[in-house]
């Protein structure tokens, strides 16, 4: 005979499976599941009993773009968590002093244009990082590896861009040194990816699906000048899509530890300093990218 307690927990497990636990109850139950094998067994029992209901739900085909996007997301989840690649190079955790050495990712064309590939990746990043926990330097470095896919050229037309640079980046045989920063909001949700290529002073800014810029306002990106310490504007952030912006005078002397984004009137701050509050920020990580030893799709 089952005890009332046992029945209660079994009913909790059942309601968890069918989805009727209240939000806070459900979250608490999920945390308990992590540590309680008996509770997990109860849940599995209910999943098994009720699975035939799922079998009555009509099948449905996801769209082609969703399928592509999902495959990319999974591939990139594999990059972030993968073991060392076929070469002898290993990914090291980055710190503000030590660059991270990465393998250039293989060219994974799927028969679609590089631009389309980048666009489907944007949506993927928004979702993947909305659920990520603390971001390590290694993760930021992995993002940089993805950003440097060869062949990326002109971004889609962005009417809000004050300056759009065509940055044609053929694959090189040399080590590339870049700096990356993931700008997150106060909740820790990533909003933008910024990549600085100090060899040519170019800065790439990619929106990770942030909420639209408030009406009549702009987001402006700032970095501390390496010599004077004064905040210097990098430019306005795009609402969506991406652009590549060249910033004059961006050089190895930049020792700013972080980017910051402030909310400004439309068109940006009328001064040489922020006038609005800081809404996003992110530390800057140096990264070195080495040429790939081989270009294959097998991992």
């Amino acid at each position: 005979m089952r005890s009332p307690d046992a029945d209660w927990w079994d009913a909790q497990a059942a309601e968890y499976v069918i989805g009727t636990l209240a939000n806070d109850e459900r979250r608490l139950f999920e945390r308990m599941l992590l540590n309680d094998a008996d509770l997990r067994a109860l849940v599995v029992g209910w999943e098994r009993r009720l699975q035939p209901i799922a079998d009555t739900i009509p099948l449905a085909t996801p769209s082609e773009s969703a399928t592509l996007r999902i495959r990319h997301a999974v591939l990139d989840a594999g990059i972030a968590g993968a073991r060392a690649s076929t070469s002898s190079r290993k990914v090291a955790k980055s710190s503000s002093a030590t660059p991270t050495i990465l393998q250039r990712p293989p060219d994974r064309t799927l028969g679609v244009s590089a631009e389309h590939e980048m666009l489907v990746r944007l949506r993927r990043w928004r979702i993947a990082f909305a659920t990520s926990m603390a971001l390590t330097g290694a993760m930021a470095a992995a993002l940089a590896a993805v950003m440097l896919l060869p062949g990326l050229t002109q971004p889609p037309a962005n009417p809000d861009a004050t300056e759009v640079i065509v940055a044609d980046r053929p694959p090189t045989d040399t080590v590339e040194r870049v700096k990356v920063s993931l700008l997150s909001d106060a909740d820790g949700t990533p909003r933008y990816l910024v990549q600085i290529d100090e060899s040519d002073g170019s800065v790439r800014i990619v929106s990770l699906g942030a909420a639209p810029t408030p009406e009549g306002k702009s987001y402006e990106l700032w970095v501390a000048d390496g010599e004077s310490g004064a905040l210097r504007s990098v430019g306005l952030l795009p609402d969506e899509g991406w652009n590549a912006r060249r910033v004059e005078g961006f050089s190895d002397e930049v020792r700013s530890p972080a980017f910051a984004v402030s909310i400004e009137p439309a068109g940006g701050s009328p001064l040489d300093a922020p006038t609005g509050e800081v809404v996003f920020q992110g530390s800057i990580h140096p990264v070195e990218i080495e040429p790939a030893a081989s270009v294959t799709d097998d991992r």
């Binding site: 009727t20 009720l50 495959r71 999974v74 659920t131």
Partner: protein, 194 residues
């Protein structure tokens, strides 16, 4: 990539999925492609039923496959049959997203859809032609009709207690105890006959 073929519940199909999951655990992207081709239509169907909007359901599907990919190395039979394991991931992901939306809004859209759902249900709420799960169908049939309907609407369509209370036009406490009692009766019946 995905085909509208019903994934079989046979042992052979199960074993194939287990092998694919093991290969995914070793970062085999071709195994992922095969897995996706096999189960995506089922998982997407489940997500779409719960979330109703294709773009949301696709988001849920993406999160589901990322989780499957990442958790593949930790999968073993104690977590259940592979398809049930993956279906559960899809359902919980979809439920998380569903509960995050404006509840008043979703309750209204459910009431608007009431006619469509009811005309698709038999008296105890299961569609005709249930191939597998005759056992479950029989046990659901032994419950009171409204108990069975609540369980189905919750599991399949993501109804919350509040929404069920509104739809059934019964007090919240009544609906909660229906579900609890109904689930425990279901367990007794299914486990006795299995």
């Amino acid at each position: 990539m995905s085909k509208l073929t019903e994934p079989s519940a046979s042992d052979d199909a199960d074993d194939s999925l287990v092998v694919l999951l093991d290969r995914c655990a070793h970062q085999d992207i071709r195994a992922f492609d095969e897995l996706y081709a096999c189960v995506s239509s089922k998982l997407y169907g489940v997500a779409l039923r719960l979330l109703r909007e294709p773009s949301l359901a696709e988001d849920a599907l993406q999160e589901t496959f990322i989780k499957i990919w990442k958790k593949a190395s930790g999968y073993d039979r104690r977590a259940g049959a592979p398809l049930a394991w993956m279906t559960s991931i899809a359902r919980y992901q979809s439920l998380d997203m569903l509960r995050g939306k404006d509840r008043r809004q979703q309750a209204q859209s459910r009431l608007d859809d009431e006619t469509r759902v009811m005309t698709q249900e038999s008296s105890h709420g299961l569609e005709d032609g249930l191939a597998d799960g005759e056992l479950l169908q029989r046990c659901l049939g032994e419950l009171e009709e409204l108990q069975a309907r609540c369980i189905l609407l919750a599991y399949r369509d993501g109804y919350s207690h509040d929404e069920l209370s509104e739809r059934m036009n019964r007090p919240l406490g009544t609906v909660k105890s229906w579900i609890r009692r109904g689930l425990l009766s279901l367990r007794e019946c299914v486990d006795a006959l299995a």
